[in-house]
């Protein structure tokens, strides 16, 4: 038998105060990021803000600074990035956001193409993709995203409350929110753009982190029956975490393998998506061990219910 971990007996619950400190910090960061997004101060993708995205490549070597300065003369807010792993060299993504109207967004595309033709004579800019999203569509996509998040979190919550008791349900929900907020906060700190794919990644990691928590809780539930006679609540929780620890780590590793593969080989479209999932796997694993179960322990310590 090839085992990554021997039988462990780590006192996870013992370090819960430190973990709570770190988690509070992450959650605060996440809430800050959320407020910034709502206030419009975060970088929103064109699918939420409305705007124009042009992806294309030049036939000759072109400096990104020259491209940027050409465009900023008319679009001060333009966002230009170079694509390094596209099949053609000299590939760039050009974005402008928040057009005043649908027609204005479409006009931006024409103007950008015109500017490029004029300034880079003899160096043709071939457009590989063009995406124009009007302000109204951006707004409805924002609404849809909020609904998707609310509905799935509510659905998960209801399911957990049915399957476990109230305290476990609350703890699992808190841990899930914790993970989503932490990843949101870190992505915000890194200055990443929030778009539909990031929301999708956040929901996926919510599902993933919850799975992790459910696995631990299932084991705690099972062990609580077994250890009832000993009356050791903290012991059975800690014991359960240790028992499922090797599963937790191996599963996290396999998921990590795929999201890292996606990060490196999935191309520009999926880069931020997979980055969010990488963060999600790390934080989700952390929270199922250091956040979800300790909440139940803390609750039990303050208002004992089970083993009077």
């Amino acid at each position: 038998m090839f085992r990554l971990l021997p039988d462990t007996n780590i006192n996870f619950i013992g370090v819960r105060r430190y973990a709570f400190g770190l988690s509070l910090l992450l959650v605060a960061l996440g809430i800050f990021a959320f407020v910034m997004i709502v206030a419009g101060s975060a970088e929103l993708g064109i699918d939420f803000a409305g705007g124009v995205m042009l992806q294309g490549h030049f036939s000759k070597a072109t400096s990104i600074d020259e491209l940027r300065s050409t465009l900023t003369s008319q679009f001060p807010e333009v966002n230009v990035t170079e694509l390094t792993d596209f099949q053609y060299p000299n590939a760039f993504i050009i974005k402008t956001k928040n057009p005043g109207s649908d027609a204005e967004g479409r006009a931006h595309v024409v103007r950008i193409k015109e500017l490029l033709t004029q300034h880079f004579a003899g160096n043709e800019f071939v457009v590989d993709s063009e995406h124009v999203i009007g302000p109204a569509v951006g707004e409805s996509l924002r609404k849809d995203a909020v609904w998707a998040v609310l509905i799935s979190l509510a659905g998960i919550l209801v399911y957990i409350w049915i399957r476990f008791d109230f305290r476990f349900g609350v703890a699992a929900t808190v841990a899930t929110f914790h993970d989503v907020l932490a990843v949101l906060g870190i992505m915000f700190l890194m200055g990443r753009e929030f778009n539909l794919l990031i929301i999708t990644a956040l929901l996926t990691l919510a599902g993933y982190s919850l799975t992790d928590t459910v696995v631990v809780f299932d084991r705690i539930r099972e062990n609580l029956k077994k250890f009832r006679s000993r009356g050791e609540f903290v012991f059975s929780v800690n014991h359960s975490i240790n028992e499922v620890l090797s599963r937790t780590i191996i599963t996290s590793m396999t998921v990590m393998i795929v999201v890292v593969t996606l990060f490196f080989f999935g191309g520009e479209v999926l880069r931020d998506f997979s980055l969010a999932l990488i963060l999600g796997v790390i934080i989700g694993t952390y929270s199922s061990v250091f956040v979800a179960s300790p909440i139940v322990v803390e609750w039990e310590a303050r208002r004992p219910r089970r083993f009077k």
Partner: protein, 574 residues
């Protein structure tokens, strides 16, 4: 062991069904481009059939156009507004069919939006023009030249007055650099013209750069700023009187438009006449010009009476659209043409004048629309398509469009393909090394999982997108979890001293609750994403949903069946 037999039988049936569902996809994906071309030439129907029964690729993977239209029903009366979106969809569908796209997808979204997906089609300008135009075709008469001349004089004096106050102001502010001031003024009007030109699907490159001309204000331009920029040209022959149609230098159009938009000018124009521009820039005397017409507002005849539309090359080199007048329209058309012989009849499509040919004689059954001189064959074909499909019941606006080039799609496919293969291989090796022979059993289950997933996607006619591929890859990672949970449980049971057989059974049994719970939570997320997500996100939700659901089957039926091949075990490699 009848349970075992059932498991094998059902799995065998599923594999056969899966192979059938996936077969066409497999064939299509393994075909090279040259083979596809050969098939296209040999039997295009067969290729289309193959493409339809294979897993469809989203726009992000095969290139194509995605357009979202908003139908503006607010201008309609309530009784017309209901069903306007459906009628618009019908019209657009007919127009798209004329374009010959393999598998267009047109659907309603929300109350007033229409989504149009044209996979594999990348002529964005043409598609936009085709779906975006109202296509209201009207025949109108031109105003008399006498009235037109009077109107121009009045407009001239008003414009002169208004320009004086305007230049007066700007000199007061920027005396030393008057040229700068007027250049930037032109710039801003050019800006607006661009927006306008773009709305009409026109390219106005070059308009913004050459301001040079504007500075040469001759005396006559000062005196008659408006009419001096209009070149009267539609005189016909000596027997015919001149008609109010003028050529306007291409770069003068923004200025003329601005003047015509002044409230004091608008007041001068009688309610029963209107100015209208030509559809395209025309070339006259080697100059690029827009034609400006003064039309009588009354609609004399409409496009819905036209049928049997065909296009041909005209004698003068341009394109002509021939039509027959339907039986309901003949009387009216004959009366109209009979009463207006030797007068021009403007053919107005969506407010722009396509051409204004002279009526030579009374026309009964059929006629010809001469396209403007700069019209291309695509313009003629578009005209035919929109006339056949009819007009939209309400104006539409493009509120979202996404154009993906074929090369970008191909790039995404190869990235998706390689990351899938790499992820799958690493996981297969990892699980195989970690859990030994049991790991190999899990690997077999995993391969079944991926195969079933592809088969289901093919069978459902689902569309594969780049996020969808990410969903498949993520499924690989998540579905392994079931096996890890089971195997870790078996190991624990073995450590408590149970027999191998008992440990296997207990491991499977005890892990079930956990696996079920974790699957349900993932399914809830996938469900929410499916309901609220759009396009690519839906693709992700669909693959995640089926991948996770199928993993329950492969973990609990297929891998268990393999373990159950032997009744008793002395040792187990786990």
């Amino acid at each position: 062991m009848s349970g075992q037999r059932w498991r094998i039988l059902i799995t065998a049936i599923l594999v056969v069904v899966g192979l059938l569902a996936f077969w066409d996809t497999f064939k299509l994906w393994t075909m090279s481009d040259s083979e596809k071309q050969a098939m296209q030439q040999e039997d295009p129907g067969k290729l289309l059939e193959l493409q339809q029964s294979a897993i469809r690729l989203g726009l992000d993977l095969q290139g194509g156009i995605h357009v979202v239209l908003k139908v503006k029903t607010d201008s309609l009366e309530t009784k017309d507004a209901s069903g306007a979106v459906e009628r618009a969809m019908q019209v657009i569908r007919t127009r798209i069919d004329g374009l010959g796209v393999a598998e267009p997808n047109i659907q309603k979204q929300g109350g007033d939006r229409i989504i149009i997906d044209l996979p594999g089609y990348t002529d964005a300008n043409r598609a936009e023009e085709l779906v975006g135009q109202m296509a209201v075709l009207e025949f109108k008469l031109l105003e008399s030249m006498d009235n037109a001349t009077l109107l121009l004089q009045k407009v001239d004096s008003v414009v002169r007055a208004s320009e004086k106050t305007l230049t007066g102001d700007s000199t007061a502010q920027t005396t030393p650099a008057q040229t700068d001031a007027s250049a930037s003024k032109t710039d801003s009007t050019a800006d607006r013209a661009d927006v306008l030109a773009e709305m009409m699907g026109k390219d106005s490159a070059g308009d913004t750069t050459d301001f040079g001309f504007d500075e040469e204000l001759t005396a006559s331009e000062d005196l008659n700023p408006f009419s001096s920029r209009l070149d009267q040209w539609l005189t016909g022959s000596e027997t015919r009187a001149p008609w109010p149609c003028w050529a306007v230098n291409k770069r003068d159009r923004p200025r003329i438009e601005r003047w015509l938009d002044l409230p004091e000018v608008k007041r001068l124009i009688p309610v029963d006449v209107q100015f209208a521009w030509s559809t395209r820039v025309e070339i006259r005397n080697n100059r690029e010009v827009w034609d400006l017409y003064l039309l009588k507002r009354k609609v004399q005849f409409v496009g819905k009476y036209l049928e049997n539309i065909s296009i041909r090359r005209g004698q003068m080199g341009g394109h002509e659209v021939d039509f027959r007048v339907s039986s309901e329209g003949t009387g009216r058309f004959a009366q109209l043409t009979g009463a207006n012989i030797n007068k021009p009849l403007a053919v107005v499509l969506d407010g722009s004048v396509e051409s204004a040919p002279f009526i030579n004689s009374k026309i009964r059954g059929s006629g010809t629309i001469t396209m403007g001189g700069t019209a291309k064959i695509e313009d003629a074909v578009n005209m035919k398509i929109v006339l056949e499909a009819g007009a939209l019941p309400a104006p539409v606006e493009i509120i979202e469009k996404n154009i993906v080039g074929a090369s970008l799609g191909a790039d995404s496919i190869s990235k998706g393909f390689y990351s899938s293969i790499v992820a799958l291989l690493i996981i297969l090796i990892f699980i195989g090394v970690y859990y030994r022979i049991s790991g190999v059993i899990a690997d077999i289950g995993l391969i079944f999982n991926v195969f079933f997933l592809l088969a289901v996607l093919a069978g459902l006619g689902a569309t594969l997108t780049m996020p969808g591929i990410a969903g498949i890859i993520l499924t690989i990672g998540i579905s392994v979890d079931s096996n890890i949970l089971i195997f870790e449980r078996i190991r624990e049971e073995l450590r408590t001293g149970k027999t191998v057989r008992a440990s296997i059974d207990a491991g499977y049994e005890r892990a079930f609750v956990t696996i079920f719970d974790s699957h349900v939570t993932t399914l809830i997320t996938a469900g929410a994403l499916f309901i609220f997500g759009s396009g690519p996100i839906r693709g992700f939700a669909v693959t995640l949903f089926w991948g996770v659901t199928l993993s329950l089957y492969t973990a609990y039926v297929i891998t268990k069946a393999i373990f159950d091949v032997r009744k008793t075990y002395q040792t187990i490699s786990i």
